[in-house]
Amino acid sequence: MKNPIENLNKIFDSRIRLGIMSALMVNEEVGFNALKELIGVTDGNLASHLKTLEDSGYVKVQKGFIGRKTNTTYQVTKAGEKAFQLHVDALEQMIKGMK
């Protein structure tokens, strides 16, 4: 039998990155500050995790302005959606395998 652990995505090992992806999956876009509040991490920490996701091509950034304040929002990409779905499937397989 194939071990479903192999299908787990290394990038989603981190709870913070998994949290970011979960929030982006059910919202069209989420702002940096909203993510910070949801996940409860510092600016720097969140930014570095977002960078990892961005470099993997799972999220895309949109930089805009509200007045003079920068407003950065994040969206999930098609590749990100697919990767997330595969990761969740693998998790489900693991849970099923345990029973």
Partner: protein
């Protein structure tokens, strides 16, 4: 043991984050109970006034109507100045304040902002049907179709809840359906509006609140 828990925890995390980011889930059961109690108190005061004015709901309002029979329209200003309207406004204010208070306390506990994108989305979706319904009912009062006010309140409020249920605890949907149903039945029992109103806004809110508290907040 660790291996056993890890995927389940991950799924739980995912689910929780999806809900927290898309729905306003700090709505407290106590808010429902408080709103229901306010509604019952309001209905009790209103029924007191209606009885003193000698007669059931419909006839009472016709007193106002007779005064303004000259143009066939019920004067909105007279209605707004009436004791019944004052009671309605106070009831709404008290219910709003108390339910806000309990939800605010709960959101402190769960660590979700009361004024975040999820609560804004919830509010916008509640307000749509409510504002439309409010204007519609104001016009009905103006035209003197008073018997349909209570059913109208229930139906529009129910629609607002069904609409909003996508953005908060899903169970709100059933409270909405129940209110719509009561409102529609009430359309064929004009004159008993106050009872239906008390059942919908009072009793249903309290039942809903207790169930929600039992399901989500009981420790």
């Amino acid at each position: 043991m660790d291996d056993y828990q890890q995927p389940i925890d991950s799924i739980k995390d995912i689910k929780q984050m999806m809900e927290r980011s898309s729905r306003f889930i700090s709505l407290s059961g106590w808010s429902g109970v408080a709103a229901g109690v306010c509604a019952l108190a309001g209905a009790w005061f209103a029924s007191d006034i209606i009885t003193k004015n000698g007669g059931p709901y419909g006839e009472h309002i016709s007193v106002y109507r007779a005064d303004h029979a000259d143009n066939g329209l019920l004067d909105l200003q007279v209605f707004m100045g009436s004791k019944l309207f004052l009671i309605a406004a106070l009831t709404f204010a008290a219910a709003f304040f108390l339910s806000f208070f309990f939800t605010w306390t709960r959101s402190k506990k769960t660590g979700t902002p009361v004024w975040g994108s999820s609560s804004q989305r919830l509010l916008i979706n509640v307000l749509g049907p409510m504002v439309a319904g409010g204007l519609f009912l104001l016009r009905m009062i103006q035209l003197g179709i008073v018997g349909l006010i209570a059913p109208g309140c229930l139906i529009f409020y129910g629609l607002a809840l069904v609409n909003a249920s996508k953005y908060t605890l899903g169970e709100v949907r059933y409270l909405g359906y129940a209110n719509i149903l009561l409102g529609i039945i009430n359309c064929w029992f004009i004159g008993y509006g106050l009872y239906f109103w008390a059942a919908g806004f009072g009793v249903l809110h309290i039942i809903y609140g207790i169930i929600m508290w039992y399901k989500y907040e009981r420790q």
